[in-house]
């Protein structure tokens, strides 16, 4: 290789520029990327390094450290990296590598490839990423409400929408409205069984935030504002969101970095947190024999490694399924499914690599011998389904609420589906 004249390729301020452009006042001290020792921990910790090309986090950081700005901005790693954070969990220099990637993506004039930026734009324009109108939303909810009334033989039961003063605002994924309306029934039943005070909003029903992955903080905040404004309007106490990994992390992290301290006072809860709490507090009763399956769990990076919701999913599965087996490695040391950081909306740009990365997860899943793999994240759910097909796993992929809903024991003093007594 020909020697490069460093003065020609190096931007000595690049490293500092990234530091300065990383969002957030409150956590600034934590995001110092200058302590890299080039020790190789990250390269070994990332299991995609040797699975696909251009995927060595150390080489990426090395380019950053040397100030090779042009090389970094054109590095495929920027868009291949799933920002799963495994590489730098025990980084001796505490380098926040996934945030470096995010900052490079969003703060240096790059545009997210594939449909990633389009999706974010759409979300900002209409309030959700799937162009669902308020009318369509209400229509779908009412349709599901009717079906449930039939199932329960009680026409007074409702799915609350825009109820002011409710305890919980529940935030769905728009594709549950558009493509998976059965999911609406699933979580509604859990709410009914637990007798929670809750509501949906006809204006904010999208948990996702692709500003997370485009790296554009102003846009991410705009997207989050839809929910924040609605919580304020409805006067709810907290927000519980459907099984979406990045959405959860966007709210929890975004509240700290895109807003001033105290500006967003509410707690954002992932559904697994809420469901585990219901079981633990005895608010719902479940019967695990109703799911006589061997079940395993995929730990989404955003909820588990970053969000710290480590035991909740396991706790739920141990209560609602007959046999739970863990993958190895698991919990905060899980492998990313390969679909994170916008890899799915980026489409063909990274598809080859996304599927190649999935092999790792496929092997992990198969090693458990499970019939069902649960993924408390919509993005992982799609990726796992792709893996399932690609590698002929013959496994079922489900959300946790699917199994939990199925295991619910209905109390005598509340709504009960017809035929519950025979179960």
């Amino acid at each position: 290789m020909e020697a490069k004249k460093l003065s020609e390729v190096r931007d000595p301020n690049f490293r500092d520029e990234i530091s300065q452009k990383m969002c957030f006042a409150t956590e600034q001290g934590k995001f110092d990327l200058n302590y890299c020792l080039a020790c190789g921990t990250c390269a070994a910790a990332c299991y995609f390094t040797d699975l696909v090309d251009d995927h060595d986090p150390r080489k990426f950081m090395r380019k950053v450290a040397l100030g090779l700005k042009d090389e970094v901005l054109n590095d495929r790693f920027v868009w291949l990296c799933n920002m799963c954070g495994r590489c730098t969990m025990h980084c001796p220099g505490k380098v926040p590598l996934s945030n470096v990637v995010r900052t490079v993506r969003g703060q240096f004039g790059l545009t997210a490839p594939g449909r990633l930026q389009e999706v974010a734009d759409l979300h900002m324009q209409v309030g959700n990423q799937m162009e669902i109108t308020e009318e369509e939303f209400i229509e779908t909810i009412e349709w599901m409400q009717e079906e449930l009334q039939d199932e329960f033989g009680d026409s007074s039961l409702t799915i609350p929408v825009n109820v002011e003063g409710a305890d919980i605002l529940f935030l769905p994924h728009p594709r549950e409205i558009k493509y998976y309306p059965e999911d609406i029934k699933s979580w509604t039943k859990i709410f009914w069984n637990a007798k929670e005070s809750w509501t949906l909003s006809s204006k904010a029903f999208d948990v996702t935030n692709f500003g997370m992955f485009s790296g554009r903080d102003d846009e991410a905040r705009k997207i989050m504002d839809f929910v924040v404004d609605e919580m304020r309007r409805l006067g709810v106490q907290r927000c519980v969101m459907t099984e979406c990994g990045h959405g959860y992390w966007a709210f929890v992290w975004g509240k700290k970095v895109w807003y001033k301290e105290g500006e967003v006072p509410w707690k954002f809860e992932h559904m697994v947190e809420w469901m585990a709490g219901l079981i633990k507090d005895g608010k719902i009763k479940v019967d695990k024999t109703r799911n006589p399956y061997v079940v395993t769990l995929h730990d989404p990076c955003n909820t588990v490694r970053k969000g710290g919701l480590i035991e909740e999913g396991r706790y739920i599965l141990e209560n609602v399924a007959e046999k739970f087996v863990d993958m190895w490695p698991n919990r905060e040391y899980n492998y990313c499914c390969g679909g994170g950081a916008g890899a799915l909306p980026m489409g063909t740009v990274v598809k080859k690599e996304r599927i190649a990365k999935g092999k790792l997860k496929a092997d992990q899943m198969m090693a458990t011998g499970a019939e069902i793999c649960c993924a408390p994240c919509h993005n992982c759910y799609d990726q796992l389904n792709d893996i399932n097909k690609e590698y002929n796993l013959g496994m079922k992929v489900k959300h946790l609420h699917h199994l939990l809903e199925h295991a619910l024991i209905w109390p005598e003093d509340g709504p009960r589906p017809k035929g519950e007594d025979e179960k």
Binding site: M1, L6, S7, D50, L66, M89
Partner: protein, 1006 residues
Amino acid sequence: MVVGGGIAGVQASLDLAEAGYYVRLVEASTAIGGAMAQLDKTFPTNDCSMCILSPKLVECDRHPNIEIITLANLIDLQGEAGNFKATVFQKPSYVFADRCVACGDCAAKCPVKIPDEFNEGLEVRKIIANKYPQAVPNTYAITHPEKCLYLTKGVQTGKPVCLLCEKACGKEAINWEDKEKTFTLDVGAVILAPGFDEFDPKTIKTLGYGTFKNVVTSIEFERILSASGPFQGHVVRLSDHQEAKKVAWIQCVGSRDRSIGCSYCSSVCCTYAIKEAMIAKEHGGEMDATIFFMDMRTYGKGFEAYYNRAQDETGIRFIRSRSFELGPGGSEHTVKIRYSDEGGEIKHEEFDLVVLSVGLRPSSKAMETAKQIGVDLNAHGFAATTTSAPVETSRPGVFVCGTFQSPMDIPTAVMQASAAASGAGTLLAEARGTLVKPEEPVAEMDVTGQEARIGVFVCHCGINIGSTVDVPSVVEYVKNAPNVVYAEENLYSCSSDTQDKIKEVILEHKLNRVVVASCTPRTHEPLFRATCASAGLSPFLFEMGNIREHCSWVHMKDKEAATVKAKGIVNRAVAKARLLESLQTVTIGVNKDALVIGGGIAGMNAALDLAGQGFKVSLVEKSDQLGGMARKIHVNLEGMDVGAYLNGLIGAVEANPNINVYTGAKITNASGYVGNFITTIDMGGQAKDIEHGAVIIAIGGKELKPSEYLYGQDDRVLTGLELEAELVEGTDRAKQAKNLVLINCVGSREPDRVYCSRICCTESVKNALKAKALNPDASVYVLYRDMRTYSFKEDYYEEARHKGVIFLRFDPAGKPVVSNAGGNLTVTVTDPILGETFVIDADLVGLAAATLPPDDSRDIGQLYKVCGDYDGGFFLEAHMKLRPVDFATDGVFVAGLAHGPKFIEESIAQARAAAARAATVLTKDLLVGGGAVAKVDKDKCSGCRICVTVCPYSAISFLEAENVAEVNEVLCKGCGTCAAACPSHAADHMGFRDEQLFAEIEAFLA
């Protein structure tokens, strides 16, 4: 008071006790020895750790001026320097120390097993136990009363539960009434030497410690390697105790890791991992050893050669990679490591055993003590000290040494310990000799010409000997031997009542020789000799036979043969006893003045400490002014203004009435020996003789003038010191430089100069930070091989990265190239991670040039009969581990750069250590020598001088006039080398004469 009985505490105690102070050594566990006692071997000499430590421990135990207080902690300190009231909390041991003879009968019966802390929990021990077989003091104790059946259930119910230990003890040594005690002692100074805590690798879950059985810590591995450890030194997997064929070491576990709040370097792990791998390979035959590391920090004296040997001769693999996690291997007995090599290739490898090289954390107990007694800690939790006062804590009169000051290796800890002793000694100079216990000698009987009347005492050692050897039959057997007039058996020959008995028998039966057949003379001979002396019998008329280690313990399964062998051993001892002579000791007076050679930081510090302790010092400097090498240093990383410090030091030296400074003085001759040297100096033609009792050599070193990287050809290429001068001065070109390139290892770690110069990595960091401070927009590059910013110097390496300094690694095979094309200075180097070669424009290039030994080290070495030729001209100390400032030649000490490259604070510590060691000589009025030493028969001597050359202590001189050799009995250590080497049988070793040895052999084989 010395707090902590590890090697540092032991050394400080011995130095102070020898210098005439009364020492209380407070130890938290049941025995002194600390972490060093747990180690198998020590680097870089691969000496057996226990073998070199144990004599120091025994010396500590027997020293009349040292009182060891075990199971105790310092909890409060009132008063002020020179006059403290120290409150000590002591846990009960439940054993009468004066009755326990460490026979182990109690432990044999005790039913309660707990993990053995000394063996890192790899083995179980009984709840009543001694800490380790060679423990000092070797007293048993119940260390976990909450688990003792009697102390819990028995005491609660008032019933005689268990009590098996009490029943087993033949000495009535169990003391159920023992209680916690808190008492206050008057002490003048406190030295903290509490040691370190091992980093707990469970903190880093991915390393699998606790998950995988075959992942162990390095200290556990020391116990695995130890012949006295749980696996008798076999390197085995813990999962199935099968031989481990592939072993890996993972470095920096709990060190250099910001993610867990341990960002400093633990200083010792790189070299100890090499040592463990080397020894393991020795033990394990075909074993494959691999060390995963970031930077190989073999910065100490002799370490780089050791590292080279490990790579080139021992075949240890070194992989530069920090691994993230250990995973299950293909079998349940293996562990898999996934790692990335430097070029980014991912590899997987399975190992039978993975050793985590755990770092040194500050002792949590000591942090608590520090808080209680008002001693400040630094940001990492270690005792805060400064460059100029490296062993002084924030509280006057409280000193610190060893790993509570910073992570350090054993020699540095020993050095600091002596330095702390010097600090305490200086503080308490007026009280010297006031509290020590004088010995009262008993007049010695003259037995010359008497026929031998031998008394023999055969020991049962509880059941240790008695259950294997038929002791009564041995007694019967020996009774009939010629000259034996008395023989008896003892349950414990070493117990204090038996000492009284032996004394009585000597007097009653007019014995003139005594034989004890029991255990090892290494620990017990001094005791029995003292007993003989107390009865007026020369201690040289005593002989020992070891029927325990050499007999009962190794022949436990064959009692008859053991008894036969025991008879042989006793017969041998008796045969020698017949021929024993009452040897004469000699005494010489001591000149109480000191000579310090070299007027740099080390020399001046040594002189000031000695002067502070009341000794007259002659300080000889060959140049015209004091200051030495430090005159070229302006600042250090810790922010010391070196110039101001130096001026202060010079002022203090010149104003001190006890110090005579001779500048422009060259040493032309030296003669004499410990206690009585005469050194001749020449000051511009004027000669002067200086008489002194001890000498400290502190003649400094110098910076290499490089012969590569265009040094001397392009004036923009400077050495580290030259660059520092420009940066401090702020020259125009230093201010305007946009690109500075610093190159490390210039002239060090090369085939013709193997050693690492220790300080240059830090020097480059210092210059890089200075350059950044001068011009924050400058691009500063440091090209290095391994960054060796050990201990807290790592903080500055971090700071430099933080400030944007670029660090680029290179291999010796791909050294950077400095070129000047048409006036354009460039440096070409390849980044090993990206595999890309970069050309850097350079305005200034700084070369971290090697530190060289002084020019005159060989000459000075020859004058004082010490080795001044190690590693190309550094002085070689008596022992790299435990005698870092002594020479094998008594009365001569070394300090500073002349001993090897080191930082200012290390030079200061070593200088003060040398002062402490010199004080142990100068304190004495008389030096005692002779006894079991060599003698040369002048009539037989042929004058061949072989003995003069082989003597390791320079104790033999050649008398030109008579053409014969003569042994200086004071200097002779009685090693016997000369006696073995002498072709004319002129050199003879008293107490080990040929006829004595032959008689022994014949008697044993009879």
